[in-house]
């Protein structure tokens, strides 16, 4: 019986999710300009659901102080209060409101993950295209150096660096961005290797254009589609990485709310059959899935495949 109920629950969730996606798409098509609307109408329902979820997360992150009922680090009661009308999702081990921290967590975890991914792409893309454009020894040298960095498992590498440089937000951002930019470098280089051979790049070279013009105007715009898709995927990895580091105690430091450390703080509740610690984990999972839905769609479009 319980299985049937679970199955039913999952089906209802999928149904509600897809129909919410549909409503969201119609709404977007309605409010955006004609061309964007035409583009959005080609999005499958899964991608719309993904966009809806991402939109909700962004709203939570931006308006966290207005949505959250309490302050981020306020200690309100004794530890581990159950779910109630005052504390929607109960309180954690120190007596802070879990719902409030969940919303602030969106701001911290998602915001920092976005910053890190953006930095990783800035470095990785420009260096990758540069290597592809210059070729020869420069390309070889850069690529081998990147290979060396990539050969070290990223979690262990970041743990090591964080132990050396300390666990400030700044060092967290720089270290993970550097490690991730190696992956972006590989992809940017591979994509641009195909583009640098095209005649318009050759024509621009013969015109005497500078390297920065070649990278920014001739190659980057044409490498955008696969890179945008990669951005989404990479964002998920970074996001999971921060959560994992926080869970291990090396990520964002308390009292900053963060989903990874929230799971760890409340982990004891699991043994009592309380699912509260799973909610931040669920928030991580939901965003990851949502981003991947959107990325799948973008990749599908970029590859030019028809259904």
């Amino acid at each position: 019986m319980i299985y049937l109920q679970t199955l039913l629950g999952v089906l209802v969730f999928i149904g509600v999710g897809l129909s919410a996606g549909w409503v969201f798409r119609e709404m977007l098509v309605f409010i955006t300009s004609r061309n964007t609307g035409k583009f959005l109408r080609t999005a499958p329902l899964t991608a719309c659901f993904g966009m809806l979820v991402i939109a909700i997360y962004i709203i939570c992150a931006v308006f966290a102080p207005f949505i959250a009922p309490y302050g981020e680090a306020d200690i309100l009661s004794g530890g581990f209060e159950p779910w109630s009308s005052t504390y929607i999702l109960g309180t954690d081990n120190l007596g802070r409101d879990v719902f409030t921290r969940l919303i602030y967590g969106a701001r911290n975890t998602v915001g920092i993950a976005f910053l890190i991914t953006a930095l990783a792409f800035l470095f990785g893309t420009i260096l990758g295209i540069f290597a592809a454009l210059k070729g020869g020894i420069i390309d070889q040298g850069m690529s081998r150096l990147i290979d060396v960095l990539m050969a070290i498992p990223s979690l262990i590498f970041s743990l090591l660096m964080l132990t050396i440089f300390g666990t400030s937000v700044l060092s967290l951002v720089i270290i993970i961005a550097t490690i991730d930019s190696t992956r972006v470098f590989r992809i940017a280089r591979a994509v641009s290797l195909n583009i640098v051979q095209l005649d318009y790049v050759e024509a621009a070279k013969l015109r005497g254009e500078s390297t920065s013009y070649l990278i920014l105007r001739e190659i980057l715009p044409n490498a955008m589609a696969p890179l945008a898709a990669e951005f989404g995927l990479r964002f998920c990895f970074v996001f999971l990485m921060i959560s994992a580091l926080s869970f291990l105690g090396l990520g964002l430091q308390p009292p900053t709310a963060d989903w990874g450390s929230m799971v760890r703080d409340n982990a004891d509740l699991i043994s009592f059959g309380d699912i509260t610690p799973l909610i931040p984990a669920g928030a991580i999972a939901l965003l990851t899935i949502a981003v991947n839905f959107v990325v799948d769609w973008l990749l599908h479009r970029a590859s030019g495949l028809k259904d």
Binding site: K38, L198, D199, Y200, E202, A203, A204, K205, L206, R207, G208, E209, R217, E218, P221, N222, K306
Partner: protein, 565 residues
């Protein structure tokens, strides 16, 4: 050898009858008409030529004859009867039994159509075995027999090679043989020689003609090249934008076409520019290539001791087959490839070998137009920015003056500025893109433009427009052209001087009128003799004169043996 299928022994001679065919294709969520009501009839053993520009619907109509539509297309109306069977009402399985068995297809690019992982003969045997026409050993025997007939080198062993081990022309012939593997009643040839050099084209044409006649197979021959179709077809049908323009027997069609459109197609080949007068002895050439030897990473030299001059206001056509070093010469001139020996000088002054070390002014005065306009224009930039960039970079134009210049240039290439200035390259046709490429080159106000096969990816009518434009610009702007091409009709149309290249060596050079009158170097002779003429008897005559073994690759091999190249 198995007997010809008896099922097809219906009384009438009519093999294929397509009536009032309408085909639509989906683009941007809208259905667009591709074919609007074309009729097509084909008798047994007859060859029908389908002619038209790209986008005329030739290939779509050819595929519809197999009851097949590409993805995103559908047949909305009309009927297709093949040997009395209604193709539209047949199930997918029934159609599969017909395709490859009684109707087969020869695609434009043989290299892309063969599976590179299997030997040629294995791919040949596949169809007869699937359709239970022959056993494997019979099919192998038959394949070798066919390879003999179409004159492939070493026919007994030929099939046991992989596709990458034989040349493009041989591969196309192997594909023709493969289309015959089940003894079909109908073969559809979709531009089978378009991707080939003139000298190899003849071998393929001879093979196709031979085989169609021998087995009394009906064929639809699709091409945009009139002279080729004239050799192959008994009857020609002209298509324009999905409509039939006219159809008639080949000789009638060639002698007296009735529609204006057909006449204009015929007239294309008659464009012939007056030869410019010879430069004075004392004049300094714009570009002078002196004893250039060059090659890529490997030790092999692609160019060997190449020398020629290009004078002001003159067009030098560099002619040769693929792999002869024409484009490599252009790369040396532009500085993309540094020569091992020799040098290039510009108005008497030696240019630095690599483009990186050339001054901006030197770069400005040598511009290039590319073969594939699709890849030569950055797809993310608007026409405005594409053309403005060189004018801004070299001439320092800005703001209003730059806008004015761009509009002017668009006028010069006969494109309405207001209509086109804010478009992306993907919103233009092939010919328009090529015009933008030209505008970008002249925006730099160069002395010489290198044109690398600029018309070979275009339809004849469009190509003629481009040639006329280049000609007009030359006289208006005092330009010189280095015109790289493999098409001798283009050379005849626009060149003043001709340089014939083969295997990286200049075999002959001189002014045009001299190059087109004998005596020739044997290679030039072969090249000139291989260009199809508008006379339907031309191929037969040529085969009689030269014999089957003295065409294309075989003839070149012979020449090499005699030490002529």
């Amino acid at each position: 050898m198995p007997a010809r299928k008896s099922a097809s022994s219906s009384s009438s001679d009519l093999l294929l009858h397509m009536k009032n065919i309408h085909i639509k294709g989906k683009s941007d969520e809208k259905w667009i008409d591709i074919i609007n009501g074309v009729d097509l009839e084909l008798n047994r053993g007859e060859v029908l030529g389908l002619i038209g520009e790209s986008g005329a619907g030739k290939s779509t109509l050819g595929l519809a004859a197999m009851g097949f539509c590409r993805d995103g297309c559908k047949i909305t109306d009309g009927s297709i009867h093949f040997d009395g069977m209604d193709m539209m009402s047949l199930s997918k399985d029934e159609l599969r039994l017909l395709r490859g068995h009684r109707i087969s297809y020869v695609a434009q690019s043989a290299a892309a159509s063969f599976n590179p992982a299997h030997k040629l003969i294995d791919q040949f045997c596949e169809a007869p075995m699937i359709h239970n026409v022959m056993s494997r050993s019979q099919a192998t025997e038959y394949a070798i027999d066919l390879y003999h007939r179409i004159n492939l080198p070493d026919p007994d062993q030929f099939g046991f090679r992989y596709p990458h081990e034989v040349s493009g022309g041989q591969l196309q012939r192997a594909m023709t043989a493969m289309a015959l593997s089940c003894r079909p009643d109908l073969i559809i040839f979709d531009e089978p020689t378009t991707a080939l050099d003139v000298t190899t084209q003849i071998e393929v044409l001879a093979a196709i003609k031979d085989i169609v006649k021998e087995f009394n197979t009906a064929a639809i021959y699709i091409s945009h090249d009139l002279a080729v179709v004239a050799q192959m077809a008994d009857r020609i049908k002209v298509l324009l934008k999905g409509d039939e323009v006219e159809q008639a027997a080949t000789d009638v069609m060639l002698k007296s076409p009735s529609e204006d459109y057909t006449k204009s197609l015929w007239a294309v080949r008659e464009y012939n520019r007056k030869e410019q007068k010879k430069p004075a002895k004392t004049e300094m050439p714009i570009i002078s290539i002196k004893n250039v030897t060059a090659g890529y990473a490997s030790k092999l030299d692609v160019l060997k001791d190449v020398s020629f001059d290009i004078y002001k206001k003159r067009t030098v056509a560099v002619v040769g087959e693929s792999g002869s070093g024409k484009s490599t010469t252009a790369r040396v001139v532009t500085g993309l490839l540094q020569p091992r020996m020799g040098s290039v000088s510009f108005e008497g002054e030696t240019l630095p070998a690599g483009y990186q070390s050339r001054s901006r002014d030197q770069l400005r005065r040598i511009q290039m137009i590319y073969q594939m306009a699709d890849t030569a224009l950055n797809p993310k930039l608007r026409i405005r920015d594409l053309i403005a960039r060189p004018a801004n970079m070299y001439l320092g134009l800005n703001g209003k003056a730059l806008e004015e210049r761009v509009r002017n240039l668009l006028h010069m290439i006969e494109m309405e500025p207001d209509q086109f200035i804010d478009r992306l390259p993907s919103e233009l046709s092939g010919g328009q893109k090529q015009r933008i490429g030209i505008a970008r080159a002249i925006a730099a106000e160069p002395s010489i433009i290198i044109c690398d096969e600029v018309t070979s990816a275009l339809d004849q009518l469009v190509a003629e427009g481009i040639l006329k434009l280049l000609d007009r610009l030359q006289s208006e702007l005092d330009l010189s052209y280095m015109f790289i091409t493999h098409d001798l009709a283009t050379v005849r149309a626009i060149a003043d001087e001709v340089v014939v290249m083969k295997d990286g060596i200049v075999v002959e050079q001189g002014i045009k009128s001299k190059m087109f009158t004998p005596p020739h170097h044997p290679y030039t002779e072969l090249l000139l003799g291989s260009v199809p003429e508008m006379d339907p008897k031309w191929l037969d005559r040529l085969l009689d004169e030269r014999g089957k073994d003295n065409l294309g690759d075989a003839a070149i091999a012979k020449m090499r043996n005699q030490g002529l190249t």
